[in-house]
């Protein structure tokens, strides 16, 4: 019985992230629209977009290979599994031990690898420009992510996100310099990985600075829908991760009752809303960076996270 319940909770989490992801994107767009004194589309518009795209036939380039057709599903599946590993409303779910924070970073790396290869498959220059910039940004953001994982793991004594969240919630962690550095670095990494302003502009196509949109230019129909859903899931994943490490308030324990789960769920939705408003505000208040200024921006995350790890190696109390 207990196994069935924990299995159900695990599935509830997987469905929850999938169901909330487009809404989160919709809210961010709405916030940005309001700041620009527009009414903006409904927050449910991303769902309608997905339904429309799913219903359309795929128009495939003549020379597209099987890799191009498999890629959208692979990207979606890797991102979804990674998002399901992040505690949202409760820690210690049934399969939470199947991967730790490094594995989550690795799964996102797999998704990106497939995405960049798919962009090169047709052999157009837009795909190439997107892929080459994506791997350049990833070559800075990914090590920064690993170093953030290292500093969080040194504080919590575990790379397991559930254990980290429990430690942050119950342990005497206090205010630490290294955690502050990790938070700043993780925010920069999240912006870079999700192709948000100032790294990339999710609202435009056909701009010379674009990265992610250039890679998915050849996609259409249901393939594009899977990629859009993957993008929304990735954004949700990063906000959940930041919330789970730095604001684990309200998270239910491993075998808590239904009441604790409901409180955890409400807290999670509130955290997502805060994250969406913060992201919308930040994106409105800053300009897109030139591509070759990005290494300074993302490199700062790398340096900050390295500093955090060094501080922890020098003194566990930092």
């Amino acid at each position: 019985m207990a196994v069935i319940v924990s299995l159900l909770v695990q599935f509830a989490q997987m469905l929850l992230v999938l169901a909330l992801a487009p809404l989160l994107t919709g809210v961010v767009r709405k916030v940005k629209a309001r700041f620009q004194r527009r009414i903006g589309a409904s927050v449910f518009q991303p769902y309608r977009d997905l339904r429309r795209l799913m219903g359309k036939d795929v128009v495939l380039a003549d020379n597209a290979s099987w890799l191009f057709r498999v890629a959208p599903y692979t990207i979606f599946a890797c991102t979804w599994v990674a998002a399901a590993l992040v505690p949202t409303f409760a820690t210690g779910l049934m399969f939470s031990w199947s991967g730790d924070l490094i594995v989550i970073a690795g799964l996102l790396g797999t998704a990106r690898f497939v995405q960049a290869l798919a962009a090169l498959d047709i052999g157009t220059s837009f795909g190439g420009i997107g892929a080459s910039r994506e791997v350049m940004i990833a070559s800075l953001a990914e090590p920064a992510m690993i170093l953030i994982v290292l500093s969080v793991a040194l504080i919590a004594g575990s790379t397991q996100l559930s254990v980290v969240a429990d430690h942050m919630l119950n342990g005497q962690v206090g205010l630490r310099v290294s955690l502050a550095l990790a938070l700043v670095a993780l925010t920069i990494v999240a912006l870079a990985e999700n192709a948000r302003i100032p790294v990339d502009n999710p609202a435009t196509h056909l701009e010379l600075t674009m990265v992610h949109e250039a890679m998915v230019l050849e996609y259409s129909g249901r393939h594009l829908a899977m990629i859009e859903l993957g993008v929304a899931l990735k954004l949700l994943l990063y906000i959940s991760m930041i919330a789970c490490i730095f604001a684990p308030i309200g998270l239910a324990g491993a075998n808590a009752g239904i009441g604790a789960f409901l409180i955890g769920g409400a807290a999670y939705v509130a955290k997502l809303a805060v994250g969406a408003v913060a992201l919308g505000t930040f994106e409105t208040s800053i300009a897109k960076m030139r591509v070759f200024r990005l290494p300074n921006f993302v490199g700062a995350a790398l340096m900050l996270s390295l500093l955090g790890v060094l501080l922890l190696f020098v003194s566990r109390g930092m």
Binding site: M54, L60, G106, L150
Partner: protein, 666 residues
């Protein structure tokens, strides 16, 4: 067990003779490579069975008088024997098909089994003489293999550099064993284990072993021969040299430092950590700039050797601080990565060989579109690219994940050198992993995807059945070792026990085959479960979308924002793909510069764009060294044409000087 391994060496030598005799006969290929395939399989089995057994010895009445030839098969040799068997079986299977069109098989056939015999003997040697004999046999036979296609430009020079580096490696190993043996001259490894050299001598032996094994393995700055020799050798030999021989060098380092010396002081660990981290980063940055597929793979080997040495450095650091569990984890991670590298690098070299055979070029700028023309080869290479980029659920990720766990294990080491170098290595390792992914997106994306850039790439054909079988087998092994990392970790338990006195917790008995390096609350990873999840959710998503959404599909010309260009020359090239990375890292690492010469308006000359790169190590170390040797030999040249009286005079003066030195010494 050791008798089987010994008879395998004998069989290799017989095959070498057969190879010399059969020469150009078409049966030679089947006999030599088929034989090597079988013997490789036997060696693999021997290693697998002997790894958990107690050490076995045998002494042969051969070699130097009073010393003889001592052979020993313990857990460490068994593991590397397993690795060697696997690598040689795969390379031989590939070679049966790949060498069908070889024009001069007699240049390869005799030396190939001899090379394998040398490597096997290195693993079995239990005294310094047999070790060095086998080490040199391995170097010389592989030199002959590098020289196999000696008429192609550059190959002779590559082989010369390789020979010089091999001589350097042999010399430093010789000195290391000389110091280990001490004034009494105990050349058997047992005597060396029993002797406890002083701190100064330990430092000397460590430095010599690091230089000797490092130059064979490809540690920066001794890596220069790899990018020259690997492209020059036939592809199956490149696979062996890169996938197996560099591991034999790692074995040499472990044998001397972990076993014979019994560990090293903590400062030695910082040196290994620093060299390993720098090697990893420099290797992958060079690989990112290369357009020759095999040179790219050679530099990537340098990177992976760096990762292995980072693991070894961590193991030394923990061992020096009396923390055997940590040392066991780090050592297991390093050896696991060595095995993984054998698998995926051999696979990638096979792929490069198949591409070279199908298109006649190794230049990725002249390839493209191979995924459609060579589907099986490309799919296998794709698996290898996933594995080498350390992406889950492949094997490369499992071993790098273990290395990160080792880095996190104990931050409170007392020494400041380690406190700073371990996190710095974590950063370098993470950077190297991300750059490796970028490197293989570029290599596969430009070489195998897109539209064919030349007619040769457009007319490429699938490789023969033997080659495809070898590649598919290794791709399968990459996936299997990635999905079941616990099997390899358990296999390595006796090795870690013998060298650092502890082993990692037993993995495969646990429920669901989860990998738990220390404790479940600390970290765990279940590759199989994640693989099933990803496969399942992707498959279900695809099925649902096709059932409830649309399932139609229409082919049309590429969209490309409405302006598709029919010329394949407008695609991204390897150079343009690597340009952002070159701009970010290249200025520091290679002093990379783009110089654009734009003529003034009205000027009719053409505009030019030049890219310059400086290889600091080649220009800063090897070129001055070569110039110094030339300079000295020019001045000493006069000594070549003297009369006999003068030579006798020199001998006399030298004798006097030596006697005086002896008199002063006493």
């Amino acid at each position: 067990m050791i008798e089987i391994a010994l008879s395998c060496i004998g069989l290799f030598c017989l095959l070498a003779v057969a190879g010399a005799g059969l020469g150009r006969a078409s049966a030679g290929r089947f006999i030599v490579y088929g034989g090597c395939l079988l013997i490789g399989a036997i060696l693999f089995g021997t290693g697998l069975l002997a790894i958990a057994e107690p050490a076995q010895r045998i002494a042969l009445p051969l070699g130097v008088p009073w010393v003889g030839v001592h052979l020993r098969l313990d857990a460490l040799s068994s593991f590397f024997l397993l690795l060697l068997g696997l690598g040689s079986a795969g390379a031989s299977l590939f070679a049966i098909g790949y060498c069908a069109h070889d024009e001069e098989p007699q240049r390869v056939l005799p030396f190939y089994p001899l090379f394998l015999a040398g490597m096997t003997l290195v693993l079995l040697a239990d005294d310094a003489f047999s070790f060095l004999f086998a080490w040199e046999l391995m170097s010389l036979s592989s030199w002959a293999l590098v020289m196999a296609q000696h008429r192609e430009s550059g190959n002779a020079q590559a082989a010369f550099v390789y020979l010089l580096m091999a001589v350097f490696s042999g010399l430093t190993m010789l000195l290391a064993f000389g110091v280990l043996a001490g004034p009494t001259g105990g050349y058997a490894f047992d005597a060396m284990r029993a002797a406890h050299p002083s701190a100064g001598l330990t430092a000397l032996i460590f430095a010599l072993a690091l230089a000797g094994a490092g130059s064979k393995a490809g540690l920066v700055p001794l890596h220069v021969w790899l990018p020259l020799a690997h492209p020059a050798a036939p592809s199956h030999v490149s696979a062996l040299m890169s996938g197996v021989m560099t591991k034999i060098a790692v074995y040499g380092f472990i044998r001397v430092v972990f076993d014979l010396l019994g560990g090293a002081p903590w400062w030695a660990a910082t040196i290994v950590l620093a060299v390993g981290g720098i090697t990893a980063i420099m290797g992958v940055l060079h690989a990112l700039m290369e357009r020759d597929l095999k040179r790219l793979l050679a530099y990537s080997t340098v990177e992976n050797i760096g990762i292995v040495f980072v693991g070894l450095g961590l193991a030394l650091a923990f061992k020096a601080n009396n923390f055997p569990a940590g040392a066991a984890l780090a050592l297991t991670a390093a050896l696991f990565h060595a095995l993984n590298h054998t698998l995926f690098k051999s696979l990638l070299f096979f792929g490069a060989g198949a591409v070279l055979h199908a298109t006649g070029t190794r230049d990725i700028e002249k390839l493209g579109g191979l995924l459609q023309r060579m589907p099986l080869t490309s799919a296998a290479v794709l698996v290898g690219c996933f594995a080498i980029s350390a992406l889950p659920p492949m094997n490369g990720f499992a071993s790098e994940w273990l290395t990160f766990q080792a880095i996190l294990l104990r931050p409170e080491l007392p020494q400041w050198g380690l406190k700073l170098s371990i996190p710095a290595d974590g950063a370098l390792l993470a950077l190297a992993a991300a750059l490796a992914a970028a490197c293989f997106v570029r290599a596969f994306g430009i070489g195998f995807l897109g539209r064919p850039r030349t007619a040769a790439a457009g007319n490429a054909h699938e490789a023969d059945r033997w080659s495809v079988a070898a590649m598919a087998g290794f791709a399968g092994l990459c996936l299997l070792t990635g999905l079941f990392p616990g099997v390899t970790i358990d296999l390595l338990a006796p090795v870690a026990h013998a060298l650092v006195g502890a082993a990692m917790p037993w993995q495969t008995g646990d429920a669901w085959l989860t990998t738990i390096p220390v404790a479940a609350s600390r970290s765990s990873y279940n590759a199989l479960l994640l693989f099933v999840f990803v496969l399942g959710s992707g498959g279900i998503a695809a099925a649902l979308v096709k059932r409830f959404g649309s399932s139609g599909l229409r082919r049309s010309p590429a969209w490309d924002c409405g302006f598709p260009d029919p010329s394949p020359m407008t695609q991204y090239t390897g150079a343009s793909m690597g340009q952002p990375i070159k701009r970010v890292y290249g200025a520091l690492a290679f002093h990379a510069r783009d110089v654009v010469d734009m003529p003034a308006p009205g000027d009719t000359r053409a505009a030019t764009h030049t890219v310059t790169r400086t290889d600091y190590i080649w220009d800063g170390v090897y070129v001055p060294l070569g110039q110094a040797v030339t300079w000295v030999s020019t001045y000493l040249n006069v000594l070549q044409f003297l009369t006999i009286r003068r030579y006798l005079g020199f001998v006399f003066i030298l004798l006097i000087l030596l006697l005086m030195a002896l008199a002063l010494w006493q």
